[in-house]
């Protein structure tokens, strides 16, 4: 019996495993780099709009009402982050860092849209601030995310900002306290400027809670994004 052959087969098999591990890690790292690039682009876009806003004190309202600011980019980013979180785990430090940046971008976009809607009477975005947790304590968060994902795909102008309640981020904590969100009753949603709504709400409930949906244009071309 040739022991060398057994050893060689073992080494080659281990090398195949090593290569697969390396490839997976390389591709995941590339994905994170891709997310970082997208975030930088969004950050620049937000900064540009903010600067424009400050410079002129006004904006081209007609253009804004026709093209919702950054909605697609943010949705795309959310979807990519969800994949990265799935592949690398929610507790991956790099994923957490990117989620923090994403949450900041969402807050900035939210504030900017509020300002725009005040300046431009024709722009009436419908906002939902969604607070979830994926630390295992919120059983309904996954399903609530499915409902919101579906709504966002059906109504492209509906602006859903989803936040991981447990992210340790100053701006997010301020948003939580401003909206008086109770972290023990997740999932929680703030629709428009109304009081927080707690617990799982299915599609029917949501349609009742957000009557403005009737005024929003629907899309047949659904873009799937994830809201945990």
């Amino acid at each position: 019996m040739a022991w060398q052959k057994y050893l060689l087969a073992f080494i080659i098999t281990a090398a195949i495993f090593g290569t697969a591990f390396y490839l997976t890690n390389r591709l995941d790292a590339k994905r994170l780099a891709d997310i970082r690039t997208t975030q930088e682009e969004i950050s620049i876009d937000i900064l540009s709009t903010e600067t424009q806003f400050e410079l002129l004190g006004n904006l081209d309202c007609a253009a804004i009402s026709a093209n919702p600011v950054l909605s697609d980019e943010l949705n795309n980013l959310a979807s990519r982050l969800s994949v990265a979180e799935q592949n690398l785990g929610a507790d991956n430090p790099e994923v957490t860092r990117l989620k923090k940046q994403y949450s900041l971008l969402e807050i900035k976009d939210y504030l900017l849209m509020k300002q725009i809607s005040e300046k431009c009477p024709k722009v009436k975005p419908v906002f939902i601030l969604y607070f979830y947790s994926n630390d295992g304590t919120c059983e309904d968060c996954g399903r609530q995310g499915d409902v919101l994902t579906y709504l966002r795909a059906t109504y492209p102008t509906l602006r859903v900002y989803s936040f991981d309640y447990n992210l340790e981020l100053g701006a997010l904590e301020t948003l939580v306290s401003l909206n008086q969100i109770n972290g023990y009753r997740l999932p929680a949603m703030v629709i428009g400027n109304r009081a927080p709504v707690y617990g799982f709400k299915n599609l029917n409930d949501m349609e009742k809670l957000v009557p403005e949906l009737e005024t929003l244009a629907t899309s047949t071309q659904a873009t799937t994004t994830d809201d945990r």
Binding site: M1, K5, Y6, L8, A9, F10, I12, T13, I16, F17, A20, F21, L23, T24, L27, D28, R31, D34, R80, V83, N87, G142, R143, D146, V147, Y150, F200, N202, L203, N204, A222, T223, T224
Partner: protein, 411 residues
């Protein structure tokens, strides 16, 4: 990574290790092509055709034997009818009357294939004894190829052929055609390792003397062809593979029949393994004891485990999706295809699974080259689509049957 997934990685590691090992063996000693050389001597040979209710195919089987490129005075065909109740006897008797010097017909009470083989062996003193299932047909050069192999190495005591599926038409037959081609590759590699684990019914040959050494066929949990290979290894008798000796066999044409056949084979492996457990990881029995037996058993467990893991996850996913849809009120949606590399699954498990699939494909292509088999895209598609779905059925049934020490069914 959870513990359940670790088990699947272990199964993939085992599958890869085995395939790598066989590929190394292939490159070490590549199978030779068929030559026009003739044997120096044509030993007297008897081919036993055990049959039970094989009326539709027995005629073709005898015809193919009569057409063998071998001196007629050195070859006798012995049909042993194991108590058929159809027209098998009438067809075989007709051949015996037409070719009295070449074809013998014997009828006996039904006792199982192993008893039919022993019946034939006890009535011949030919130097070589072959057997051919009555649903199989041989290539005209098959016997000469086997004799040449035995002549080149006198220590060879038994020879297996290269088995191909006879005219596969249905998808399930095409699936088996690929599987048999893969079998041609790994049987040849087992030959390189001196570790062939089964002497299949279609056209395996034995030197008559070995039955005096190790005794006749046994019931062996309805897998007498496997048990005799185990017993030969136990006695240190060499088994070789004649990859240029082609035999075409009819295969099950329904999932039910296939599962039944494979349950018998797999259960036979488990039960024979139990009977010959002393050979496991025993260096005395070379690669047979150290590689083929343990990897076979581990592979059996790994395949069952992986199938269970996948089934469990699939059921969970379906339950989650359906209950999610009912709870959320979100209508079912087809996943939208995204043309973006970002969303392509590049998990380690998928990459490794694809590597196993690619290596299996390489092995099948090598098997195709070794035995000049013709396979098309439909064959490969049916194999990769169906095999993984059907194989767990017979593995589970075989494991259950072995656990309860039940007897597997023939048909």
């Amino acid at each position: 990574m959870d513990a359940a997934a670790l088990g699947v990685y272990a199964a993939i590691f085992l599958a890869l290790f085995f395939e790598v090992f066989l590929l190394i063996s292939f490159f070490e000693k590549r199978p030779a092509q068929m030559t026009a050389l003739r044997p120096k001597r044509y030993p007297a040979t008897t081919i036993i055709v055990p049959c039970w209710n094989e009326g539709p195919t027995i005629g073709g089987t005898i015809e193919s034997l009569l057409a063998l490129d071998y001196p007629a005075d050195k070859l006798s065909i012995m049909v042993v009818d194991d108590g058929s109740t159809d027209n098998t006897g009438a067809v075989a008797r007709e051949y015996a009357q037409r070719y009295p010097a070449r074809v013998e017909y014997h009828y006996k009470e039904n006792g199982g294939k192993w008893t039919a083989l022993n019946f034939g062996i006890s009535r011949t003193q030919a130097e070589l004894v072959g057997c051919l299932d009555a649903d199989s047909f041989v290539d005209e050069h098959a016997l000469v190829e086997i004799v040449k192999l035995m002549e080149n190495d006198p220590t060879i005591m038994a020879v297996t052929p290269a088995m191909k599926v006879n005219k596969p038409k249905r998808l399930i037959e095409m699936m088996q055609a690929v599987e048999y081609t893969f079998g041609i590759f790994f049987k040849k590699m087992f030959d390189n390792l001196s570790a062939i684990s089964v002497l299949p019914g279609p056209f395996s040959f034995y030197k008559r003397e070995i039955f005096d050494i190790i005794g006749p066929f046994k019931h062996a949990h309805n897998t007498e062809d496997m048990e005799i290979a185990f017993r030969m290894h136990q006695h240190g008798l060499k088994i070789a593979n004649a990859h240029t000796a082609y035999v075409y066999t009819n295969v099950p044409t329904t999932v039910r029949a296939l599962v039944k056949q494979r349950t018998r084979w797999s259960q036979g492996f488990l039960q024979n393994s139990q009977d010959y457990s002393h050979m496991y990881l025993n260096r005395k029995f070379g690669n047979f004891g150290m590689l083929v037996l343990p990897v076979g058993l581990l592979g059996f467990a790994a395949a069952l485990y992986t199938a269970g893991f996948l089934l469990y996850n699939l059921i969970n996913l379906v339950i989650l999706k359906v209950s999610g849809m009912l709870a959320t009120g979100v209508p079912p949606q087809l996943p939208s295809p995204r043309i973006d590399w970002f969303y392509i699954d590049t998990s380690m498990m998928l990459i490794l699974t694809l590597t196993v699939a690619v290596m299996t494909l390489v092995a099948v292509l090598l098997g195709q080259r070794i035995a000049k088999t013709q396979l098309g895209v439909t064959h490969f598609v049916s194999y990769f689509l169906l095999f993984g779905l059907i194989a767990p059925l017979w593995l589970a049934r075989a494991a259950w049957g072995a656990l309860l020490a039940q007897e597997s069914a023939w048909r």
